[in-house]
């Protein structure tokens, strides 16, 4: 399989806190893969994601998405290739309807109204958000907001979808829906997905491969085969959220 995302020797130190957030991190993600970036709070997951999506500038190293290196002159063009849902419910406008959010976020990623309408049909079906279109975001549950945010991030048909802590605060039913939707997105839409989380159980049910990050270093990576949440918790000292869904 061909690499869709390549990260080479990323180094990032925040001047104020003097903390090394990433220490020469390198990784590859193949096209069509679902990868779980697992680590405890403060491990460097969010910094890594924000560098990949161009929100944070690294001190050194490079990010290549679909053969294009992230630089100042390529950053805006690369935004067409990446869809991102950041941690929490901070990805939507709460005072307007779901449909208005869809048109807005699709538009700022360069899509026309017609293209957005077509893609709403496609992705709202997979994420089960069709019945929510006329609702204002502030009337939705956590799980519904999360699915709406993911739908909004897909309307420009990105090659790479990045999800930061998508299972935080979700009930069991929402977790099942999310796991199923992520798998469908890969199977039917061939989207490559990178999920950062400290929720071992959610990742175990969702991803093809784990990348373990701790203290700004990639400490291990392995396929998600015959591995239990307890194994991971014991080996890497990462608390497993053992809700059986």
């Amino acid at each position: 399989m061909k690499d869709l995302l390549t990260v080479k020797n990323l180094y990032k130190k925040y001047n104020k806190s003097k903390i090394i957030a990433l220490n020469n991190v390198s990784m590859d993600i193949n096209k069509g893969e679902i990868v779980g970036l697992l680590g405890p709070n403060g491990a460097g997951k969010t910094t890594l994601l924000k560098i990949i999506c161009g929100l944070t500038i690294p001190d050194s190293g490079e990010v290549i998405v679909s053969n294009v290196k992230m630089e100042d002159k390529t950053r805006l063009k690369m935004m067409e290739k990446i869809g991102v849902v950041l941690e929490g419910n901070r990805n939507l406008y709460w005072a307007i309807s779901v449909l208005d959010n869809y048109y807005y976020f699709g538009s700022i990623k360069g899509k026309t109204g017609r293209e957005i309408k077509k893609n709403i049909e496609k992705y709202a079906d997979i994420l089960k958000t069709k019945e929510l279109l006329t609702r204002k975001v502030n009337t939705l549950s956590m799980g519904q907001k999360q699915r709406v945010a993911i739908t909004a991030s897909l309307l420009h048909e990105p090659e790479l979808l990045i999800l930061d802590e998508p299972s935080n605060g979700l009930d069991i039913e929402s977790r099942i829906l999310l796991t199923s939707a992520v798998k469908t997105l890969r199977e039917e839409m061939k989207i490559t997905i990178l999920i950062a989380s400290h929720d071992v159980d959610f990742l175990r049910k969702t991803v093809d491969r784990f990348i373990i990050i701790n203290n700004g270093n990639i400490v291990d990576e392995f396929a998600n085969i015959n591995i239990t949440a307890e194994d991971i918790e014991n080996k890497y000292k990462i608390h497993a959220n053992l809700k059986e869904a």
Binding site: G54, D100, I108, G110
Partner: protein
Amino acid sequence: MFKYLNIVIAEIRRSLKESFSYKMGLVSDIVVLTLLYAGLIFMDTGSMLGEYYNNPGNSKTLLLLGYIFWSYSIAAISGVSSEISIEAVKGTLEQKFMAVIPYPFLIAGNIISSLLLSSIVAAVIIAFSNLIIGVSITVNGKVILSLLMTLVGMYGMGLILGGLSLIAKRINQLTLLIQILLLFVTDTLSKTSPSSAISCIIPLTVGNDIARKSVSNIVISYNEWLMLILVSMLWFVVGSAIFGMSSRYARKNGLLGTY
């Protein structure tokens, strides 16, 4: 080009829909700005304006014109700086930085929406002025042109505050202070002759002067137009450069997602 236009229109629509969903915000803007204007009129503020512009008996109209210019200007400033703070708190700021066009174009869309809402406020103030005080205003092409040029410069001033807001986050009190100061240092309420050096490099001062001369049938020289263009472009260019540097600093230090 079409992509940029499409996105700016999307931003205007989004911003208007959001503003109308918070109706009390718009109503309070109308009430506060109308009451402030009424207070200025009843305190006989700007009574010398008519004399200065050789238009005796028309001081209140000239005051109203300056006041409208000021209300649009503060909308242009808060359309950048306050909006950045609000978006940072809501968490949508980072999503906007992942748009396929530079962020200042999205801000421009937001400002257009703020200016449209300011037009509602201005319409209420003008109607109030006409019905209660009997002061009317005639808007001509030169007034509109000077207002648009003024707003380009004030947008530049907003970009400077916006850049600061990306790094320092909560600068709402500073923004408010600057908005109030503008009321007093830009010849909005009275006219000093000549205007102070600092006042002269604020687009609102120059724009106010041109608009008032226009409604007072005073010939406006090319130099005065040139001055307005130069001052506004200076603020726009400096503001864009500072905003660009600030957003790079914020990305370098991981500040976009914090508030």
